[in-house]
Symmetry: none
Subunit: 248 residues, 2 copies
């Protein structure tokens, strides 16, 4: 994973040193000496991160930062001459991801670049998604969506749907669902029935004739991922280990 970094400094010596360190650290490095040049290079190269001197001839560093941010997703590390409180506030305001005060060691700068990139590229808000047909479900975020519309599910409905998505194309007896979703060994099985119905009400286009969660008569329910072009067109295989169920 080779990241692109743009170094913006009007001092050729500083830029040279920083660039060479970053280059040796394995980054693809680009350079610019002033604000307009920086914006041009950024537009052309779409860097992942910009090391930006706060003091620039022509355009102000803060202004450049703002414009960069307007262009698209890019991390910014500010270089500021003074360890001044006001500069830090300014950096905060324009949303720099980090800042380094001069004088600084190039080694430290490299570390910060790596740190910021690790942070920003890993800025993945959600976890592994469960998918089935047009339905997607994020267990960590606890949100579910059908197509582009968010589903508002209760806890039980959410857990139930999650279980179905994890075990598609398989019939589940009510006892099993009660045990796996509710965590109860006993309990009124009609509870399962009712919750399946409530879930159907929210995800089936016609709850009266369900196509996603079908009834397996005398057994229980089965979640059938619809034949979507982007899911496997072959008969659904069950990726999970066979379930041994104590006889009712």
């Amino acid at each position: 994973m080779t990241h692109r970094v743009l170094v913006v400094d009007d001092d050729p010596t500083v830029a040279e040193v920083v660039a060479s360190y970053l280059d040796r650290a394995g980054f693809t490095v680009d350079r610019a000496a002033d604000g307009p040049a920086a914006l041009a290079r950024a537009a052309a190269e779409r860097p992942d991160l910009v090391v930006l001197d706060l003091m620039l001839p022509g355009l102000d560093g803060l202004e450049v930062c703002r414009k960069l941010r307007d262009e698209g997703p890019v991390a910014v590390i500010m270089l500021t001459a003074r360890a001044d409180e006001d500069d830090r506030v300014l950096g905060l305001e324009v949303g720099a991801d980090d800042y380094v005060t001069k004088p600084f060691s190039p080694r430290e700068l490299v570390l910060r670049v790596e740190s910021v990139l690790r942070r920003t590229t890993a800025r993945a808000p959600s976890g592994p998604l469960l998918r089935g047909g047009s339905i997607s479900l994020d267990p960590a975020a606890r949100r579910a969506a059908q197509g582009d519309v968010e589903l508002s599910l209760t806890i039980r409905e959410f857990d139930l749907l999650a279980y179905f998505l994890r075990h598609p194309g398989r019939a589940h007896r009510r006892e099993e669902l009660m045990r796996r979703v509710w965590g109860w060994q006993f309990g009124d099985l009609s509870t399962v029935t009712v919750h399946v119905r409530r879930l159907r009400e929210k995800i089936e286009t016609d709850p009266a004739t369900p196509t996603l969660i079908t009834t397996v008569w005398g057994v229980g329910y089965r979640f059938d991922p619809p034949p979507d072009p982007d899911t496997s067109p072959h008969p659904p295989r069950t990726p999970d280990r066979p379930e041994q169920d104590p006889p009712l």
Copy 2:
């Protein structure tokens, strides 16, 4: 330049070994066995750096760290038992400069102490910024801003917001927040509720209908970074630790 280092650990053996290594490395070493003692020694000796066990009898290590920081500029290296990512996050949130996971080699600890001291004495304290939507937060400086207005947050509110910013788009149970932010294993969970409400009061445009910190019914809360141009429209996958969902 001989630096003063304070070693805080309730295990006499650990404290002894660490202290002797640091002593041989040329540092002036002081020791304390628990939180209150640590604060007392720190107030008296004004050390340059504190090696702090996260697990302490009496006062929590994080709390001690906070109080130390309130006293004045001091570097902190955390000792944490578990190599847990979230512990690291916690340590960094309260502003630890580095952390070492047990078991560790005393030699490595000495290296880190030297490294941190080199770093902290060389420049003014600054740190990476956390961002989420229009909110930016600087853990080291302990300041937060929304857009260009500074937020005046209390300690708890700050730590809570910091935790949310580090884990955006994920649902957090109250127990989890209590553990990660407060550092308590038990405690009245309504405390979390109240602080979330107070935080909302300060960052939500309409606290009655929150959009940043949303309630996940029956679960807890989730920080939803508003649709920023710099986050992808569809949630990408994450390197985050997989989550096992307790079926309740």
